[in-house]
């Protein structure tokens, strides 16, 4: 397991994992900052979260699912996407531009609904959340496109840059900064024009969200299922390693695991009406992988699984990462097969989004 080739695959998987965690934290930090009322020093009670939900708008052929979609009271609507590693190739950059324009139309639809219905907001903006190191590239490209007439959003548009920023010895912050354009509401535009540090401690204490709309790394999801979901599906008494001769046996279904994941770790924590993500189908694929690792079996055709719960060598995350590194062809650059694991609804364009992020 420790040949140099597998190690490089392993290192890449670790990197992917960290990047995903960072992205979740960046997104939460931005959501938190936008929901935060500086005058009362509390979270606003009138925020509607629609992150990852399907949004239709005139001019858009299909529904889109923005990573960030929120309404602050009845006045401000913010729709945005996360592109942590803002694309490096023109082709992908063009697709980001097209996507942002789609989101801009969603904002327009919120502001001036076609039918007689009430506008959902009076001000709106589109946001691109990217990494601090990519903010200049993103701004230069979009500015160039704007001048070339290929990127002309009707509403306000802003680039928000995020970066993890250690301070002092072990203090960890996420710094948010509006690096380009205009944000709504105006007070947030002014505030984020300077760097806003958000403490990681505070985010973790406040939000249990562990994934956003994009497909999480396989090992990350498996770790979450193995460590946090499966043990709760069997009584405490079935553990007792010193007393019970047998390992806990856990019988469950993909639907049950998916329900726990959604209710406890997804953006649904912010709004229970959000779409069901991850889907049962994708969780079923993840459970199949666990069966493939010989940690359990599939019972018949009715979709039930039975797992023999145990402590995995080196900790579950390490175990899954190594397993994953071992099945990937050593030495080759790991390509993300679209068939690899359809953990999320493929229609939700999360796969193509991830490909963009990865460029």
């Amino acid at each position: 397991l420790s040949t140099p080739a597998t190690n490089s695959v392993y290192a890449e998987l670790r990197k992917e994992l960290n990047s995903y965690q960072d992205t979740v934290n960046f997104l939460l930090a931005l959501i938190h900052e936008l929901s935060w009322d500086d005058s009362t020093r509390a979270i606003r009670a009138d925020v509607t979260h629609e992150h990852g939900s399907r949004q239709n708008a005139p001019g858009n052929k299909d529904a889109v699912t923005p990573d960030l979609a929120m309404l602050l009271g009845q006045s401000d609507g913010i729709v945005g996407d996360v592109k942590i590693a803002f694309a490096r190739t023109d082709e992908r950059r063009r697709s980001i531009t097209a996507q942002l324009l789609k989101y801009d139309r969603v904002v327009s639809a919120w502001l001036t609904p076609r039918k007689a219905s009430k506008p959902r907001a009076s001000r709106g903006c589109t946001v691109l959340l990217t990494h601090h190191t990519r903010k200049v590239d993103a701004a230069e490209y979009l500015e160039q496109e704007r001048q070339g007439g290929r990127f002309n959003p009707r509403n306000a548009f802003a680039i928000v840059a995020a970066v993890r920023a250690p301070q002092g010895n072990t203090e960890e912050f996420i710094n948010l900064e509006k690096s380009y354009g205009t944000l709504v509401p105006p007070e947030k535009d002014r505030k984020l024009a300077r760097v806003v540090p958000v403490r990681l401690d505070h985010l973790t204490t406040r939000y249990a969200v562990k994934f956003y709309d994009a497909q999480p790394p396989v090992a990350y999801l498996l770790q979450l299922i193995w460590d946090n979901i499966l043990p709760t599906l069997t009584p405490e008494e079935s553990f007792r390693p010193d007393v019970q001769p047998e390992r806990p046996s856990i019988e469950t279904t993909a639907a049950e695991v998916a329900r726990h994941l959604r209710d406890s770790y997804s953006m649904r924590l912010l709004n229970p009406a959000l779409p069901e993500s991850p889907t049962v189908k994708s969780v079923s694929a993840a459970l199949d992988l666990l069966v493939g690792f010989k940690l359990g079996n599939k019972l018949g055709v009715d979709g039930n699984f039975r797992f023999q719960y145990r402590r995995l060598r080196g900790g579950s995350l390490e175990y899954f990462l190594r397993k994953q590194a071992a099945v990937n062809p050593a030495g080759k650059r790991r390509t993300r097969s679209k068939k690899q694991l359809l953990l999320f609804d493929p229609k939700a364009e999360s796969i193509s989004k991830l490909d963009n992020d990865r460029s």
Binding site: T170, T204, T205, E236, F239, Y309, L312, G315, S316
Partner: protein, 377 residues
């Protein structure tokens, strides 16, 4: 216990009557001076789901416990290996469930070996129905302060033997602790002050009561005892004093910490927010260069599966307690605090176990409710 003089035995049997309050029992035992090697032991136990404490369930291979009535039982412990001196030793056991049903005090007359090998093992077996609280260094200090306060001059508490552990977090040594057993004759106050300077915590402290005579000469009164951080106390005389000071002070601390451990699991709490616990360190205890060592120590936690989700420059670990399937995230993203974030299941015994492990391995911490502390609620 059969070796005890008849009159002493009669007093003890009478005192342990189930209808009495703990303090009354202690009062009735106060005048008894037990011969070596006997001691009265008082322990604080935390209970879960079983307010009546089914001690009879303990396998006889560990200790033979026979219940006499609702609260008194007999313990028979036979050493299985070559320890002939303790074969056949037995103890009278009195257990009182406290109000609320989630804690109990236990009183018994026994010898050190029976306590250590029989009773302590029996309670370890009963985990998580019964779990031991732990007294932090400041708790132990306040225990000794209350003991000393109740003494009339010229009596003073002298520490005779101190079992301590020094955390070696900031040194590159592979060892996690430096354990120490010292035979001292220092004053309790002095010992606590010394320990605070070297990241040392006490596991148990044996003391004797001394008469301070002219020129500061300490003369033992032959009243000896022991205080352990596992919240048990023993003495060969003056039980009422020990109970009313040490046990009462410790009980108050333990109940406060137990409150912190309650309702942490998110499945039970039904709320979307994590109910995090914050371990607050007095001084800058967590340096960045310590993070790999903290991660390494977490990995070695017994009966737990630990995954490091992020190692540097902040530490994020996921811990599953293999004793009951509780799960926690642990986050070090600040110099002076460490967050313990309970996941779907987080039982009280498990929360205490994690806190204790963090306390032992990482540093002198106080455990508080995080959202309250960070001003989020």
């Amino acid at each position: 216990v059969d070796e005890l003089p008849q009159d002493v035995l009669a007093t003890i049997a009478g005192a342990l009557s189930p209808s009495r309050e703990d303090a009354e029992v202690a009062g009735a035992l106060d005048r008894v001076q037990l011969p070596e090697p006997f001691r009265v032991y008082v322990a604080i136990l935390l209970l879960r789901r079983d307010p009546h404490l089914s001690i009879e369930k303990v396998p006889q291979t560990i200790a033979h416990i026979r219940r006499q009535d609702a609260s008194v039982a007999t313990v028979l412990y036979e050493a299985r290996w070559n320890e002939p001196t303790i074969r056949g030793a037995s103890a009278l056991l009195r257990i009182t469930t406290l109000a609320g049903g989630d804690a109990a005090t236990l009183m018994t007359v026994t010898t050190g070996p029976v306590w250590r090998h029989g009773l302590e093992k029996a309670f370890a077996w009963l985990y998580p129905t019964v779990y031991a609280p732990f007294l932090r260094q400041p708790d132990l200090r306040s225990v000794f302060e209350s003991m000393q306060r109740a003494l009339r001059s010229p009596l003073r508490i002298r520490l005779t033997r101190v079992s301590s552990l020094r955390r070696l977090l900031h040194t590159p040594s592979r060892r996690r602790y430096e354990s120490g057993l010292t035979w001292t004759d220092v004053d309790a106050e002095e010992a606590f002050a010394d320990a605070a300077e070297s990241s040392t915590y006490f596991r148990s402290l044996a003391f004797d009561l001394c008469d301070v005579q002219g020129k500061g000469r300490f003369v033992s009164t032959d009243i000896v005892g022991k205080v352990s951080r596992d919240a048990y106390f023993s003495s060969n005389a003056r039980i009422a004093w020990l109970y009313n000071t040490a046990v009462v002070a410790a009980l108050a601390r333990v109940r406060k910490e137990q409150e912190i451990a309650r309702n942490r699991g998110r499945l039970a709490a039904k709320g979307p927010e994590p109910r995090a616990i914050l371990a607050r360190f007095d001084t800058g205890s967590l340096q960045r260069q310590d993070l790999p060592r903290i991660a390494e120590r977490l990995r070695r936690m017994p009966s737990a599966s630990v995954s490091i989700l992020h190692g540097n420059p902040y530490l994020h670990a996921a811990i599953v307690d293999m004793k009951d399937g509780s799960a926690f995230d642990l986050l070090v993203a600040s110099e002076k605090q460490l967050l313990i974030v309970p996941q779907l299941r987080a039982t009280e015994p498990s929360v205490v176990r994690i806190c204790r492990y963090v306390y032992d391995q990482v540093g002198e911490a106080e455990f508080v409710d995080a959202s309250h502390e960070l001003g989020l609620r």
